[in-house]
C-alpha cells in the first residue's frame, strides 16, 4: 500500500472548499487534513498542527491577504510540505510569484475532481506542470539575468545570443541557475511540446523531463530568495556577507 498524502486546503470560497474536499476524499491516495478560509486561520492551523501537511492547496486571493504568505510560512515550517496554487487562469504573474514563494505547481480551479486528485498524486510522484507561457517567461528572465551576470562578472564567452548552443550559453558551474538540459527542456515546453514529445525528441524518460521541471521550480524559489538577499544587501538592510 503506497503512502497516503495529507492535504490542507486554504480557500475562501466555501463551495470550492467543498469541491476540493470531495475530490480529496474520493482519492484513495489522499486524506483530508482540513481547510482554512482566511490567511490568519491558515497560519494559526500551521502553527498548532501536529500532523505535517504533505500537500497544501492555496488560493492566492484571500479576504485578509495573499496566499503567498501561507505558502512561505508552510515551506519555512515544513520543508517536506509541497504547496500547490489554485488558479482559475494559470496566468503568468500569479504562478511565477507562487513558484518563487515556494509553490511546486498549480492546479486549475475548473479541472475535473478526479483530475485534481491525480495532479496532486502526480506532483508527489515527481511531476510538475508548467505552461509554455511560464516557460517562456522564465527563459526571458534568465536570459536577462545571465547577460547581467556576464556584464557584472566580466567572464565567460557565453552571451545570450539566440541560437548559440545551450551548453555554451548555460554552463551550470558558471551560473548555477539553469543546466543546459533544463534550458533545452524549458525551450521545448515554451514551443508547445508535451513532456512525452520532449522525452521522445531528447531520448529521455518522461520522468526525467518532469524531474528537470521540478528542479527548476526549486531553483526558482531558491533564486528568488538569494535575489531578495542580494537586493536587501544592496539596499543596506542586511550586513554585507564577509
Amino acid at each position: 500500500m503506497p503512502r497516503r498524502w495529507g492535504v490542507l486546503v486554504v480557500e475562501d470560497d466555501s463551495r470550492a472548499r467543498a469541491f476540493f474536499e470531495a475530490s480529496v476524499q474520493r482519492s484513495p491516495r489522499l486524506f483530508w487534513l482540513g481547510s482554512a478560509g482566511t490567511v490568519l486561520e491558515a497560519l494559526a492551523w500551521l502553527a498548532r498542527t501536529t500532523t505535517i501537511p504533505d500537500v497544501l492547496l492555496v488560493d492566492l486571493g484571500m479576504p485578509d491577504g495573499t496566499g503567498l504568505d501561507v505558502i512561505r510560512d508552510a515551506v519555512a515550517r515544513f520543508p517536506g510540505c509541497e504547496p500547490l496554487v489554485v488558479s482559475v487562469f494559470g496566468d503568468e504573474e500569479n504562478v511565477l510569484a507562487s513558484i518563487e514563494a515556494g509553490a511546486v505547481g498549480y492546479i486549475h480551479k475548473d479541472a475535473a475532481p478526479e483530475d485534481i486528485a491525480q495532479t496532486i498524486v502526480e506532483m508527489k510522484a515527481g511531476a510538475s506542470p508548467i505552461s509554455p507561457m511560464i516557460a517562456r517567461r522564465v527563459l526571458a528572465k534568465y536570459r536577462s539575468l545571465q547577460s547581467a551576470n556576464v556584464l557584472g562578472i566580466g567572464i565567460g564567452t557565453g552571451t545570450a545570443v539566440p541560437g548559440a548552443t545551450p551548453e555554451a550559453a548555460f554552463d551550470e558551474n558558471e551560473r548555477g541557475l539553469l543546466s543546459a538540459r533544463e534550458h533545452e527542456v524549458l525551450t521545448l515546453i515554451a514551443r508547445g511540446f508535451s513532456y512525452a514529445e520532449i522525452a521522445r525528441l531528447k531520448g529521455l524518460s518522461v520522468h526525467t523531463v518532469q524531474t528537470h521541471i521540478k528542479n527548476l521550480y526549486g531553483k526558482l524559489a531558491v533564486h528568488s530568495k538569494s535575489e531578495a538577499v542580494f537586493e536587501a544587501t544592496r539596499l543596506g538592510l542586511l550586513p554585507h556577507p564577509g
Binding site: A190, G192, S194
Partner: protein, 615 residues
C-alpha cells in the same frame, strides 16, 4: 566705498608728506660734520655788465636779474681744521643751467657748455662731485662754481654742502636724487600705463547707441590725453639735454602742462555730464583758452626773456581752472556719485597744489623747491583706474544678472516643455487606455460574452443537453484564458501563440478522444501581427479547432507551422469526415482577412486542411 577711497588717498598723501619731512630732518641732523656753504662772493655778467659782490645762498637767478640770461662765478670759502682722512664730496641740490665746479683752483667737473646758451640744463637734478684726495687743505679752501644762466629756466645756485662722502653722498645726495630723478621716472611710467589703459578703453569700449552711431566715451580719451601730456611733462625732469632749443622745448613743456590741465578739465566736463547739456557747451572754450594762452604766454616769456608774462598768465590760468573745478565741485555736491566725488577731490587737491607751486616757484625766492603738482597728478590716475574698476564691476554684475535672468527663462521654458510633454504623455496614455478598453470590450463581446449568451439561450430553449451547455461554458472559460494569455504574447510570435493555444485546448481534445500531433517548427516573427491581430488569430484558430471538436468526428488533430521561404505557414489538419470546402465558415474568412492572412481550405473525407499564410 567712497569713504574707503578717501582714506586711501589721504593715507597716500600722508606717506608723501612724511617722506618730504623725513628728508628735511635727515639733512638737519647730519649737518654737523659736513659743512653747508651759504656765503661767499659772486661775480655776474649780464648784458655785458659785470658786477661783483657778497652773496647769500640760495641764489635765484631769475629773481635777481628779471629773467635775463648771463654768467655768474661764485667763490665760496670754507675753513677746515685739519686735512680730512676720508674721501669728501660736494653736494649741490640745484645748480644751472651749465656749470663748472672748481676746488682750490682745480677744475673738478663740467656740466654742459658754458658758452652756448639755451642748450643743456643741469638744474633739473641734484649734483654730487667727489673731491680728489689732497685737494682739501687745512685752513681756508675755496669752492668756485661758474655757471651760465638761461632765462626762465630756474637757473641759480642753491646752498652747497661739502663733507665726508658717507653722509653727504649716501644720505643727502641719494635721497634728493631719488625724489627728483627717480620720482620723475616712476611718475612718467605710471602716467604712461594709465594713459595706455585709458586709450585702450577709449578704442575698445564702443557704445552702439540707439541712433546707430558709434559712441566712444569721452572721459577715456581725455584721461589718456591728460596722462600722456603729463608723462611728457614729467619726463622733462630727467632730460638734461633736450632735443630742441630751449625756447621751443620750453613752449612744448608748457603746452604739455596746459594740455594736461585742459584734458583733466575736459575729463571733468564729460564726467559731470556737461557734455550732454547743450547750454554748457561754451565751457569748452575757456579750456581751449588755457592751452592757447599758455603757448602764447610761454613763447612771449621765453622769446623776450621776460618770465613775468608766463607768471601773469599762470595767475589767469589758475583763476580759470579754479572756477572750472569749483563749478565741478558744486555740481558734484548737488548730484554726487562716487566717480565724481573721487575726481572732485583729486581736482581740488591738484588746484591747491598748483596754487602753491605758482606761489613758490614763480613768485618766491625759494630756490631748490620742486613742484607738488607732479605728485597730485597721480590722484587723477588712481581716480580714473577706480572709475574703470567700478564700471567694470557694475557691468559684470549686470551681466551676471542677465545670465541669471536668461537661466531663469531657460528653466521656465524647460518647465513649460516638461509640462507640455507630460500633457502629451497623458493624452497618449489616455489614448492607449482607450484602445486597451476597446480591445477588451471587443474581446469580451466576441469571446466570453458570446459564449455566455449562447449558454443562456441554450438554457432558455430547454432543448439543450447539459453536455452541450458544459461545452459552451468551457469554451467561454477557455476563451477567457486565451484572452489572458494574449496579454503577454509578444506581437508577431506565432510560435508562442500556438504553444499557449495547445496548452489551453489539449485537455478538451484529450477528453474528446482526439489525438494531438504537434509539428510546429520555429518560425520567424510575423511583422504585421500586432496585439489586436494576435488576438484575432487566436480566435481564428480556436474557431477552427472548435469546429473539429464539434463537427469533424476526427481522431487526430495535427497542427503544423513552418517557413516556406519568407512565408510563415500555419495548418490545422484533421482526419474527420470533412465538409464542403466551397462553404468556408464566414467567421474564418472574415478573421483571416482581418489579420492579413491568406486562407486556404481543402476538405475531403479523412483530410481537412485549414491553411493560413503570412508574408
Amino acid at each position: 566705498m567712497l569713504r574707503r577711497l578717501v582714506s586711501l588717498l589721504s593715507l597716500w598723501l600722508a606717506v608723501l608728506l612724511g617722506g618730504v619731512a623725513g628728508t628735511a630732518a635727515a639733512a638737519a641732523t647730519t649737518a654737523e660734520s659736513p659743512i653747508e656753504l651759504r656765503q661767499g662772493t659772486v661775480t655776474t655778467t649780464v648784458a655785458g655788465v659785470t658786477r661783483t659782490g657778497p652773496v647769500e645762498l640760495s641764489y635765484h637767478w631769475d629773481r635777481q636779474h628779471r629773467g635775463q640770461p648771463g654768467f655768474a662765478s661764485f667763490d665760496l670759502p670754507f675753513n677746515l681744521p685739519a686735512t680730512p682722512e676720508t674721501p669728501w664730496g660736494i653736494f649741490i641740490p640745484r645748480v644751472g643751467n651749465a656749470v663748472e665746479v672748481q676746488l682750490n683752483g682745480a677744475l673738478l667737473q663740467v656740466y654742459g657748455d658754458l658758452d652756448r646758451g639755451n642748450g643743456a640744463d643741469y638744474a633739473k637734478a641734484p649734483i654730487y662731485v667727489p673731491v680728489p684726495g689732497r685737494l682739501l687743505k687745512t685752513g681756508e679752501n675755496h669752492l668756485q662754481i661758474r655757471l651760465r644762466a638761461d632765462s626762465a629756466r630756474r637757473a641759480g645756485l642753491s646752498r652747497v654742502t661739502v663733507g665726508p662722502a658717507a653722509p653727504v653722498r649716501t644720505e643727502l645726495f641719494e635721497s634728493a636724487y631719488a625724489w627728483r630723478f627717480t620720482g620723475s621716472v616712476l611718475l612718467t611710467a605710471f602716467s604712461l600705463v594709465v594713459g595706455g589703459i585709458a586709450l585702450a578703453l577709449w578704442l575698445t569700449q564702443v557704445d552702439n547707441g540707439a541712433v546707430g552711431r558709434h559712441r566712444r566715451d569721452g572721459i577715456y580719451f581725455w584721461a589718456a590725453l591728460a596722462e600722456f601730456c603729463w608723462a611728457v611733462r614729467v619726463a622733462d625732469g630727467v632730460i638734461a639735454e633736450p632735443p630742441l632749443p630751449w625756447v621751443a622745448w620750453g613752449v612744448l613743456m608748457a603746452a604739455c602742462y596746459a594740455g594736461w590741465a585742459a584734458s583733466a578739465m575736459m575729463f571733468c566736463y564729460h564726467l559731470s555730464g556737461w557734455a550732454r547739456n547743450p547750454r554748457l557747451q561754451w565751457a569748452r572754450w575757456p579750456v581751449a583758452a588755457v592751452v592757447a594762452g599758455t603757448v602764447v604766454a610761454t613763447a612771449l616769456a621765453l622769446q623776450r626773456e621776460q618770465p613775468q608774462w608766463l607768471t601773469g598768465w599762470l595767475a589767469i590760468e589758475i583763476v580759470i581752472v579754479l572756477a572750472f573745478v569749483g563749478s565741478f565741485a558744486v555740481a558734484t555736491v548737488r548730484n554726487p556719485t562716487t566717480e565724481r566725488m573721487l575726481v572732485a577731490i583729486a581736482a581740488l587737491a591738484t588746484v591747491a597744489f598748483g596754487v602753491r607751486d605758482w606761489l613758490v616757484i614763480r613768485l618766491s625766492d625759494a630756490y631748490g623747491e620742486t613742484t607738488w603738482v607732479r605728485y597730485s597728478s597721480v590722484f587723477f590716475g588712481v581716480a580714473l583706474l577706480l572709475i574703470v574698476l567700478r564700471r567694470f564691476h557694475a557691468v559684470s554684475t549686470q551681466a551676471r544678472g542677465w545670465v541669471a535672468a536668461l537661466a531663469e527663462q531657460v528653466a521656465q521654458r524647460e518647465r513649460e516643455l516638461a509640462q507640455t510633454y507630460a500633457e502629451l504623455e497623458q493624452v497618449a496614455r489616455d489614448q492607449a487606455r482607450t484602445h486597451e478598453r476597446e480591445r477588451i470590450l471587443r474581446d469580451m463581446h466576441d469571446g466570453v460574452g458570446s459564449h455566455i449568451s449562447s449558454a443562456i439561450r441554450q438554457l432558455q430553449s430547454g432543448q439543450t443537453s447539459s453536455e452541450e451547455l458544459l461545452r459552451t461554458l468551457r469554451d467561454s472559460l477557455d476563451q477567457l484564458k486565451l484572452s489572458i494569455d494574449s496579454i503577454h504574447l509578444p506581437p508577431g510570435d506565432v510560435g508562442a501563440l500556438l504553444a499557449a493555444l495547445r496548452y489551453r485546448l489539449e485537455p478538451r481534445l484529450a477528453t474528446a478522444g482526439i489525438e494531438f500531433e504537434w509539428a510546429v517548427d520555429e518560425v520567424a516573427p510575423v511583422k504585421l501581427l500586432d496585439a489586436q491581430a494576435m488576438r484575432q488569430l487566436q480566435f481564428l484558430l480556436f474557431e477552427a479547432i472548435s469546429n473539429v471538436l464539434q463537427h469533424a468526428q476526427a481522431s487526430v488533430l495535427r497542427i503544423e507551422a513552418d517557413m516556406l521561404g519568407d512565408m510563415v505557414r500555419l495548418r490545422v489538419i484533421d482526419n474527420g469526415r470533412g465538409f464542403d470546402a466551397s462553404q468556408v465558415p464566414r467567421a474564418l474568412s472574415e478573421r483571416a482577412g482581418a489579420v492579413g492572412a491568406r486562407l486556404a481550405v481543402e476538405s475531403r473525407p479523412g483530410r481537412t486542411v485549414v491553411q493560413l499564410g503570412f508574408g
